[in-house]
């Protein structure tokens, strides 16, 4: 076993955050939330376009699992920055499903199709009736969990 070295590091960030001025954490969060809200419309449109591409992939059944995974994880990446929890959960289930299919070397378009249809539904009904949307996501996880990790 090699000897590990321990290095004491002093970050400039530590001094910077404590310098006089700046703002309260509450104010910074509110400002960030407002700045972010200005991009939410474009982001949701972009997510809609990505779900459209996933729908085409499911219809044509010509692409690899890696391609589906990359598209689904991009939806997750964007939705995750806007705190779209339900959409993220559904997308996470799709990513997990595709990852498990890759691990088992099998391709089941039907289960992927169910996920993509659900993504479209959740995207269309963003923010409405959280309980019923959550039950949709629970159903997706039931499908994903049929395949062992």
């Amino acid at each position: 076993m090699s000897e590990a070295q321990f290095v004491k590091v002093k970050y400039r960030l530590t001094e910077q955050v404590a310098t006089p001025g700046g703002m309260t954490a509450g104010m910074a969060s509110d400002r960030a939330q407002r700045e972010l809200a200005a991009h939410a419309g474009d982001a949701m449109k972009s997510i809609g376009a990505m779900i459209g591409r996933l729908e085409i992939m499911v219809r044509d059944q010509e692409v690899s699992l890696d391609t589906v995974y990359n598209e689904a994880s991009t939806v997750l990446d964007i939705a995750g920055l806007f705190d779209k929890r339900v959409l993220c959960d559904a997308c996470y289930s799709l990513c997990e499903l595709v990852d498990r299919q890759r691990a088992h070397n099998r391709l089941d378009w039907a289960s992927i199709g169910v996920h993509v249809n659900a993504l479209r539904l959740l995207w269309t009904r963003d923010g409405q009736d959280p309980d019923s949307l959550k039950s949709v996501v629970d159903g997706l996880w039931t499908i994903t969990d049929r395949l062992a990790p």
Binding site: V7, V17, G22, T24, A25, S29, A32, T74, D77, K84
Partner: protein, 198 residues
């Protein structure tokens, strides 16, 4: 534990590198950090761009997405911790992740980021992690298979029967008592203030 909303935080002079391949996500991240008061932000959409910024700028914080087209975020952090110029090697890093694919779990653990933030998250949570990084007092570990912040938040000593790798490592195994327990009166005497003889 949530960040106290009354606590003051000043990021006016901080230089932040954002590494994110997707344009929409980059816009969102930029907006968040602008809201936090960060004036100087560098943006990189690939590992190669991020490496160039690291080599040419003095950075105070790096926020990197795990998924990138050429080299993923984990490989970028690995490069940063091992092969970047000395001035930048230990720059604090917050890694943003989406889905954790099975093949990436070990890479994520070993990449050397200060904190990993899983999506979805709110600006409040990201600000809290920035604050945590600023207050992070963990030492950097430089070992054959890992370079990054000490992954132990508390030093509990090495496991039983294992010789520690730090000079100051002590075993948690205390062993059986070699002397009888002290009386409460003896303990009280030890704590009692005494007049010093000058």
């Amino acid at each position: 534990m949530a960040l106290d909303p009354k606590i003051r935080i000043n990021l006016d002079r901080s230089v932040v590198l954002l590494v994110e391949q997707n344009a929409q996500a980059m816009d969102a991240l930029t907006a968040m950090f602008r809201g936090f008061g960060v004036r100087k932000q560098f943006k990189a959409t690939s590992g190669a761009e991020a490496m160039h910024v690291v080599k040419t700028q003095e950075l105070d914080l790096i926020v990197a997405d795990a998924a990138m087209p050429d080299m993923d975020g984990y490989d970028f952090i690995r490069w940063l911790r091992r092969d970047a110029p000395d001035a930048s090697r230990f720059t604090p890093v917050i890694m943003l992740t989406g889905h954790a694919a099975r093949s990436m779990v070990e890479k994520s653990r070993d990449c050397g980021a200060n904190f990993v933030v899983a999506r979805p998250f709110t600006p409040e949570l990201l600000l809290q992690r920035v604050f945590w990084v600023a207050k992070d007092e963990r030492q950097m570990v430089v070992a054959e298979n890992y370079v990054g912040p000490d992954r132990r938040f508390k030093n509990m000593g090495p496991p039983l029967g294992v010789k520690g790798r730090r000079k100051d490592d002590l075993s948690t195994h205390v062993g059986a008592a070699t002397a009888p327990n002290m009386d409460q009166s003896d303990i009280d005497m030890l704590l009692k203030p005494m007049k010093a003889q000058l």
